[in-house]
Symmetry: C2
Subunit: 877 residues, 2 copies
C-alpha cells in the first residue's frame, strides 16, 4: 500500500524539504520546518501521487481515506481537540504543487466547523463572536472555492448585514449579526442547489477533491503550458491544524523577508498585523504595521522570530519569505519559501552569501538570473504602479522611458534642445531618424519587430524601445496618435507618454520610474567570477570609437561587428556616398569613393586604437544602396542640384534600385562583387588605418568580414580582392599588419555549405538576425503583424529574434560550426547578432562550440555573466 | 617508351573509335574509319598524353620526335611521296580534343610546301597554278595560326593583287600573280620579325607546338571553365596526308548528314562543291550545290558515298555528320562525328533507330536531351537569324515571341482586339496585368527573376517571357523604352519587338520564327517509353479546370498545386475578398468569405472532375492580403464607395498591411492562423465540392495543402481546424470523402524540422521557388540586379530558380525527405516549384526519393521524359 499521507508534528515528521515533487513546495517547507524544530502547527500532506492516481482512476486511490482518518486521529492526539467534536479540531486545506503555480485552489480555512462545533468553539475559546465569525468565513470560503458558488453572493449579504447593523467594518458586527449572516449564507447554498455538508469528513473529502480538480482548471492548464510545466506532476494537499491570529491583541499575523528584498541589505524585513488572520492582510482591509510594533509590544516573540528566521536562512542557504501567526502569545510559522527580490538584491545577496561562507562562487553565479540582471541597466517602471496600458507592442530594448511625444526626428531634436524629455513615436524608423532617436528618452514604433531598425539602434544606444505597436494610428498630418479599438482616445504631440521596453506596455501620461544602478561593488565582483569560469569570449558590436571605449569599459574583449555603413550617414559623407551610387562607371565610382576613404580610415583608426591589443572585426558595406538615396522628390531635386545632374537621373536611379524585398536583394557581398571598387576602398581604408596605428604602437588585430555570403565562390573572389589591396597598401606603407578575412554566416545556404566556405574563410561570425529571418521566412520589419500572436498563443515559445530558436536556426549554427571546424580546425567562430547578449542563446552558443559572442555594449556584462553560467551549467549537467 | 604516335593507313591502324581520350574525337574517328575500311587519307595522331607531357616539361616528351619521323617515313612509303622531296608529301595538321571544343587551333593545310617543293608539286601535278595557289594558302594559314601574324595583313595583299590584276575572284589569279603574292607574303613574315621556315620538319614541329599551345589560349580556357571540361585532358594532333578537292572538275569537297538534321527523315542530306577545298565552303566564297549535282555527274562516286555513309551510321549507331573530298575521281572521308540536329530530328531519329533495331528503347531515351525537347513546344527564333540583340534579360519562359510593343495591360488588350500581335513590356507585372498578358504573344519585364510573377504566370500560360532586362528604361509618360548604354535607341509603343524566352535576347523589329510541333507520333511513342521506366509520378500545377484538362492531355497524373488565390482576382470575387480584408471582426470576415464560398466550390468541383481518379492538391490562401487591395487613391476611393466605408479606412488598412519584405511577411499559414475563418471557408469549399462531385460518381482524391509552414505547431492547428470543418461538412452532407492534409516545405526551418512536421503532415510538397529564395537569401523579384552577373561570371553555375541548387537547397530537400519519411514511412513527398519541370532537377528529385514532381502543364511531357531518363540513369550509374 502506498503512503499517500505524510504527517508532521511534535513527535513525528514523515517528510523532508527535498520532497517537493511528492509533497509540493508548501508541504515540503512545513515538514522541513517541523524537522528542524521551527514551531509549526501540526498537519499532514496528501501526496502528488495521490493526485495523479485520482486522475487516473477518477476517484480517491485505495487507502487514502483510511490514511487521512488515521492522520486526523493523530492530530487529535497532538492537539487534544476532536475533529467534529469538542473542543473542535479545525484545519486549513491548501493546494501545493511542486512548482509554484497561480491559478489553482488556494485555501480553505476553519474546515471542521458546523452548527454543533461552532458552539463548541465558542465555549472552548470563550469567545462566541470569534466562533461565529470563523463559521461565517468558512461558509464563504468553502462555498466559493469548493462548491463553486460566486463569492459575490456572500459579499452582498455581508454588505447588507453591515448596512442593517449600521456599522462600517466587518469587525463591528456582533455575534447576533454573524449568526444571522450564517443562516443567510446557508440559504445561499440552498438557492444554488448545493447542500452545505454539516459532516466535517464530508467537508474534508470535498475540499481535497476540489484541490485535486483545481490542477485541471483552465487557468492552471494555460499557466503550465506557457511555463512548460508538465501536466503529469499533480498537486499535493496540505491539511494543517488551524492557529488563529485573530484571537485578541496578543495574537496577530505577519510576513517576513530574511533580508531586504529591494536592496539586499542584511536585515529582517517584516510586517505585522495584530489581531488578524492572514487573509485580512491579503484583502487589504487593514494596513500592516512595521515589525517594530511587534518588537515593542512582545520583545520575546520578536526575538524568537528573528532567531527562527536566521536558523531558516542558514538552513535553506537563501533569502526567505516567511509567513507567521501569533496565537495568544505563541509564534507559529505557516510557510517558508525563497523570497522574490529585485535584480540589485539578487546580486547583492548572492555575493554576500559567498562572503558569509554560505555558498560557493559557482553557486552564486548559478543563482543569479541573467535576464533579471538586465534591469540593472535601465530605469524601470515603478513596480507599484498599477495603471492600465493604452496599448502594447513588442518589447525591443529594456527599461522605462517617460517623455513628451514627438512625431518626427526633427521635432524630437527641437524639443530636446528646449530641455524637454521626449519619446519619439514613429510608424517605423530609418537611418534619417538617428539623431532624433539619440535626442529621445525612448522610441516607440507602430511597425517592426525585435530586430527592426528602431530596435537594433535603440539597443545599441541603450535606450528603451517598444516596436510593432500595431494598434497605434500615427497621423502626422494632424500630429496625433489614435489607438485602434480605443475610440476617442487621442494622444497629441507634446502629451506625456510612458513606455516599458521590458514588457512592451505603453501608458498615457507620466508613470513613476526607478533609476538604474549597475555599478555597485557586488555586481563588479560577481562579473569577475563569471570571467574566471567562462570559456566564451565576449565582444561588442560597436561602430564608433566612443562605443568601442564604452564597450571596453563594460568588459568587452574586442569588437565582433563594426558596421561601416552607419559611418556613411554622417554629415558630408552621405553626399559622397550618393555621388558614388549615381556614378555610371567604375572610374566615377572610384572618384566618389576616394572622398569617403579618409573618413572611413579615421573611423577605423579610432576603433583600432580603442581596442588596442584586441580583435576588431569590420564588416564591408551591407545595406542595399537605395537606403542612401532620398525617396522624396524635393530631396531628389536637392541632390541633383548638389551633384549637377538632371533630377530625372536621380529619380531613375532611385527607381532602378527599388526592390520588392530589399532584405533579400542587392546588398552585402553582392554589392562588393558587382562594384568591386567599394570593397577595394573599404579594404584600403581598413588596411591603411591598421598600418598607421601600428606605427603609433597600437597592437592591431584586424578582421575583415564579408557579409551575406551564400556561396564559397563569392567569398573567394572578395578575399582575393582584399588580399590584392593589402599587398598594394603594404608596399606603399613599407610595413605589414596581420589581418584575417572571414565571413558572416547569415544565410541558410552558407551554413549548409560551411565546409566549402571554411576553405576560404579564416573566421565565421553568425549573423543570427538575418539567419533567423531567412530560416523562418520572417521579415523582422514586418513580423509585428503576427509574431506577438504566435508567442501569446504558444505557437512559438519565444520571439526567435530575441532568443535563438535552438530547434531550427540552432541546427544551422551547430552544423556550420561543426562543418567549418572540420575543414579548418583553427577557424574562429563567433556570433554578432542580437542573440549575442541573450543569456539562453549564449548558453546555446557555448554548447555549440563557438569561440565568442558579440553584442551591444550595454549587454556585455549580461553576456559575460551568461557565458560564465554556461560554463558552470555545462559542468554540472 | 610511351607510344606518342598512333598511325593509320592501308595496312596498319593503331587506334580505335573508343580511344577519344587518347586520340581526341577527330583522331579516333579517322582511326575507326580506317579500321572498318572507309577510304581515308593515311595519317597519324599524336596523343593527348604527349600534350600533357609537353605541358609538364615545357618541351616535347622523349621519343616523340623519333616516333613522328618514323610515322612520316611510313606515310612516304604508303603514298610514294617524300616529305620535303619530290613528289612532295603534304600534310594537314589539326587539333582534336577528347571533347569538341571551339577556340582552339583549327587547321593548317598543305604543310610541307617550300620554295623547292612548290616546284616539285607543280611538276608532279602538271599544274603550276594549283601548286602556287597551295603555297600561297599555306603561307597565309601557317602565318596566321602558327606564327601569330594577323590574317588581315595577308588578306590586304590578296585584295591588292586582285585589284592590280583587274580580277574579281581568287580563282582568276594566274600563276605569275600567285608567285608575286608568295613573295609578298614572305615579306610579311620578315616585317613581323618571324622567319618562314623553309624546312618542312621545322614547319611540322612548329605546327605541333602551336596545336599544343592552343589548348591554353584564353578562349579555350574560358570555354572549358563554362562547360566544366577538366584542364588536364589536353589535345591530340592529327597529321593527315593532303588530298585535294581543287584539282579540277573531277575533284570536289562536301559535307553529308546521314539523316535530315532538321526533320530526322531517313535520307542522305548532303552538299557538294566541285573543284574546291573545304575552307572555300567555310569561307562562304562559293555556294555549295545540292548533292544531286554529284549524283548526276559521278554516279559511282555518289553511290560509294551513300554506301559508306550507311556503313558508318550502322557502325556508329547514330546520325552522323561527315566531311569528304573527291580528288581526281577518288572519294576520301576526312571526318566523322555525331551530327547536330533539331529537337524534332533528335526525337524522330532516336525512335526510328529503335524501330530499325539499331538501339534499345532505354538507349533512345538516354540519347534525347530533355532540355532540347522544350523547343518542340514553342515557336523558336530562326536559327539562321544573326541580328544583334538590343538588350537581354533572364530567359524565363522558352520560345520566341514577335509583336508590337504595348506598355500596359489595357493597351495590350486593346491592340489585341484590333487584331494586332502584341508583346507586353512592363517594369514588372502584377495580378492586374493577367488579362493583358493573356492577350500578348510574349511578356518582357525590366525587373524580376526567373520566378517573378511575370515568369511564373507566363510559364503557366506557355507564353515566351524575358524578365529582369535591367537595361530597359520604360517611360510610361512618353510611351517609349530607352536602353541604358545605347544612347539614342528608342523603342516606341506600337513598334515591333522580338523576344527569345529561351536565351533572354531582345531584338528590335520582327525576327523570323519557326512554329512549334510537339505532337508527332515519334514523340508520343518516346514519352510512352519514358512512362514505362519512370518511378516518379508527374503532376501539373493548375488553377482552373481548363488548365487541369490541358495538363491531363499532356499526361499529368494529378494536380500537385492549385493556387486558390488566383481564383480571387476574377470579376466580382475580388470585391468580396476586399470586403473580407476590410472587415474588423471575425463575424464580418465570415460574412464576406461566405460570398466567396460558392465561387471557390465551383472552381474546386471543376478541378476534381477534370482529375477524376487522380490526386488534386489544393493550397490554402498564400499571398499577403495587401495584394488584393488597390494602391492608388482613386481606386481606394472607388472601393470605399462600393463597400460604403470612409476612404480613410481603406487607406488606413492599406497602410497597416504595407510590408517592407512581403515575401517574408504576413502570408501563408500565418494568415490562416490569425484569420482562421479564411481556412475554414476554403476547407469547407474544398470538402463540399468533394462531397458533391463524389455524388456525381467522380473518384475524388483531395489533398489540402497548408503553405509557408515553419513549425509543426502551425500545421497542427490548421489541420485540427480543417478536420473540424470536414466533420461538420460530412455530417451536413451525410457522406464522407477521403482527404489528406499536408504542407508545403518552402522555408528552411520546415526542412530542418521535417521530422516533427511529418508527425502532423500526411504529405510534403517542396515549394522550391520559395525555398530557393530563403535558402539563398535571394528575392526572386529583385534578383535581376545581380543574378545574371553571377551566372555570367561563373559565381553560380546556373540560375538556381531554374535548375535546383543541389549543393545547398538540395541538401534541405534531401534532409526533409529523409527525416519526413523516417517519422512517417508512408509520407507522400512531391515538389511543386518551377523546378518540377527542369530535367536536371527532376533527376535530383528522383535520387532524393521523392514520389512525384509537379510543373506547368506545358512542361509535363518534358518532366515525364526526364523522370524516365532519371530512372535509367540511376540504373546505369
Amino acid at each position: 500500500m502506498a503512503q499517500w499521507v505524510y504527517l508532521y508534528g511534535p513527535d513525528r515528521v514523515d517528510g523532508r524539504g527535498d520532497m517537493k515533487d511528492l509533497l509540493g513546495g508548501k508541504g515540503a517547507g512545513l515538514h522541513e520546518m517541523a524537522r528542524i524544530g521551527i514551531p509549526v502547527p501540526p498537519g499532514f500532506t496528501i501526496t502528488t501521487q495521490a493526485c495523479t492516481a485520482y486522475f487516473r482512476t477518477g476517484g480517491f486511490p485505495e487507502g487514502l481515506e483510511d490514511q487521512v482518518r488515521e492522520a486526523v486521529r493523530i492530530l487529535e492526539g497532538w492537539t487534544g481537540k476532536r475533529f467534529g467534536g469538542d473542543p473542535p479540531l479545525l484545519v486549513s486545506v491548501r493546494s501545493g504543487a511542486p512548482i509554484s503555480m497561480p491559478g489553482m485552489m488556494d485555501t480553505v480555512l476553519n474546515l471542521g466547523l458546523n452548527d454543533q462545533t461552532v458552539e463548541a468553539l465558542a465555549k472552548a475559546t470563550d469567545n462566541p463572536r470569534f466562533a461565529w465569525d470563523s463559521y461565517r468565513r468558512f461558509l464563504e470560503m468553502f462555498g466559493d472555492v469548493v462548491m463553486g458558488i460566486p463569492r459575490q453572493r456572500f459579499e452582498t449579504l455581508l454588505e447588507q448585514a453591515k448596512e442593517t447593523a449600521g456599522v462600517q467594518a466587518d469587525a463591528d458586527l456582533d455575534t447576533a449579526h454573524l449568526q444571522k449572516l450564517v443562516e443567510a449564507f446557508k440559504q445561499v447554498y440552498a438557492e444554488e442547489g448545493k447542500a452545505f455538508p454539516q459532516d466535517p469528513w464530508e467537508q474534508l473529502w470535498a475540499a481535497i477533491r476540489a484541490v485535486f480538480d483545481s490542477w485541471n482548471n483552465p487557468r492552471a492548464i494555460a499557466y503550465r503550458k506557457i511555463h512548460d510545466i508538465p501536466d503529469h506532476l499533480g498537486t499535493a494537499v496540505n491539511v494543517v491544524t488551524m492557529v488563529f491570529g485573530n484571537m485578541g491583541e496578543d495574537s496577530g499575523t505577519g510576513v517576513a523577508f530574511t533580508r531586504n528584498p529591494a536592496t539586499g541589505e542584511k536585515e529582517l524585513y517584516a510586517e505585522y498585523l495584530p489581531n488578524a488572520q492572514g487573509e485580512d492582510v491579503v484583502a487589504g482591509i487593514r494596513t500592516p504595521l512595521k515589525i517594530d510594533a511587534l518588537r515593542e509590544r512582545f520583545p520575546e516573540i520578536y526575538e524568537e522570530l528573528v532567531r527562527h528566521a536566521a536558523t531558516l536562512e542558514e538552513h535553506y542557504r537563501d533569502m526567505l519569505d516567511l509567513e507567521f501567526t501569533v496565537e495568544r502569545g505563541k509564534l507559529y510559522f505557516l510557510q517558508v519559501r525563497v523570497g522574490k527580490r529585485t535584480a540589485r538584491a539578487m546580486v547583492k545577496i548572492a555575493v554576500d552569501f559567498v562572503h558569509e561562507g554560505k555558498i560557493s562562487r559557482e553557486e552564486a553565479l548559478l543563482r543569479v538570473d541573467p535576464y533579471k540582471v538586465e534591469e540593472l541597466f535601465h530605469p524601470m517602471l515603478d513596480p507599484a504602479y498599477d495603471g492600465e496600458p493604452v496599448a502594447s507592442g513588442i518589447p525591443a530594448s529594456p527599461g522605462a522611458a517617460v517623455g513628451k511625444i514627438a512625431l518626427d526626428a526633427q521635432t524630437a531634436q527641437k524639443m530636446r534642445e528646449q530641455g524637454e524629455r521626449v519619446v519619439l513615436v514613429r510608424p517605423e524608423t530609418s537611418p534619417d531618424d538617428i539623431r532624433g532617436m539619440a535626442a529621445s528618452e525612448g522610441i516607440l514604433t507602430a511597425r517592426g519587430g525585435a530586430t527592426s531598425h528602431a530596435a537594433v539602434v535603440s539597443r545599441g544606444m541603450g535606450k528603451p524601445c517598444v516596436v510593432g505597436a500595431e494598434d497605434l494610428v500615427i497621423d502626422e498630418a494632424v500630429r496625433e496618435i489614435r489607438i485602434r479599438g480605443r475610440d476617442g482616445l487621442v494622444l497629441r504631440e507634446g502629451d506625456w507618454i510612458s513606455i516599458d521596453g521590458t514588457t512592451g506596455k505603453i501608458f498615457a501620461g507620466q508613470v513613476p520610474t526607478l533609476p538604474p544602478s549597475p555599478d555597485f561593488p557586488e555586481f563588479v565582483e560577481l562579473l569577475s567570477w563569471a570571467d574566471e569560469f567562462r570559456r566564451l569570449r565576449v565582444r561588442a558590436n560597436a561602430d564608433t570609437p566612443e562605443d568601442a571605449r564604452r564597450a571596453r569599459d563594460f568588459g568587452a574583449e574586442g569588437i565582433g561587428l563594426a558596421r561601416t555603413e552607419h559611418m556613411f550617414f554622417e554629415g558630408e559623407r552621405i553626399y559622397a556616398m550618393q555621388e558614388m551610387i549615381l556614378a555610371d562607371t567604375p572610374e566615377a565610382r572610384r572618384k566618389a569613393l576616394a572622398k569617403l576613404l579618409p573618413y572611413q580610415k579615421e573611423d577605423f583608426k579610432g576603433l583600432l586604437r580603442a581596442m588596442d591589443g584586441l580583435p576588431v572585426t569590420i564588416r564591408t558595406l551591407d545595406p542595399p544602396l537605395h537606403e542612401f538615396l532620398p525617396k522624396e522628390p524635393e530631396a531628389q531635386k536637392a541632390l541633383a542640384e548638389r551633384l549637377g545632374v538632371p533630377v530625372e537621373k536621380v529619380a531613375e536611379r532611385v527607381e532602378a534600385l527599388k526592390e520588392l524585398n530589399p532584405m533579400l536583394g542587392f546588398r552585402g557581398v553582392r554589392l562588393g562583387l558587382l562594384y568591386p571598387e567599394i570593397t577595394e576602398m573599404q579594404a584600403r581604408a581598413m588596411l591603411e588605418a591598421a598600418c598607421e596605428v601600428q606605427a603609433e604602437g597600437v597592437d592591431v588585430h584586424l578582421e575583415i568580414m564579408i557579409p551575406l555570403v551564400s556561396t564559397a565562390e563569392e567569398l573567394r573572389r572578395q578575399r582575393a580582392l582584399v588580399e590584392e589591396v593589402a599587398e598594394r597598401v603594404f608596399q606603399e606603407k613599407g610595413v605589414r599588419v596581420p589581418f584575417k578575412v572571414g565571413t558572416m554566416i547569415e544565410i541558410p545556404r552558407a551554413a549548409l555549405t560551411a565546409d566549402e566556405i571554411a576553405r576560404v574563410a579564416e573566421f565565421f561570425s553568425f549573423g543570427t538576425n538575418d539567419l533567423t529571418q531567412t530560416t523562418f521566412g520572417f521579415s523582422r520589419d514586418d513580423v509585428g503583424k503576427f509574431l506577438p500572436y504566435y508567442v501569446e498563443q504558444g505557437i512559438l515559445p519565444h520571439d526567435p529574434f530575441q532568443r535563438l530558436d535552438a530547434r531550427g536556426v540552432g541546427q544551422l549554427v551547430a552544423m556550420a560550426t561543426e562543418r567549418g571546424k572540420a575543414t579548418r580546425p583553427d577557424l574562429k567562430v563567433g556570433i554578432c547578432g542580437e542573440h549575442g547578449g541573450d543569456p539562453d542563446s549564449v548558453l546555446f552558443f557555448h554548447r555549440a562550440g563557438l569561440d565568442y559572442v558579440s553584442c551591444s555594449p550595454f549587454r556585455v556584462p549580461v553576456a559575460r555573466l551568461a557565458a560564465g553560467r554556461a560554463a558552470l551549467l555545462d559542468r554540472t549537467t
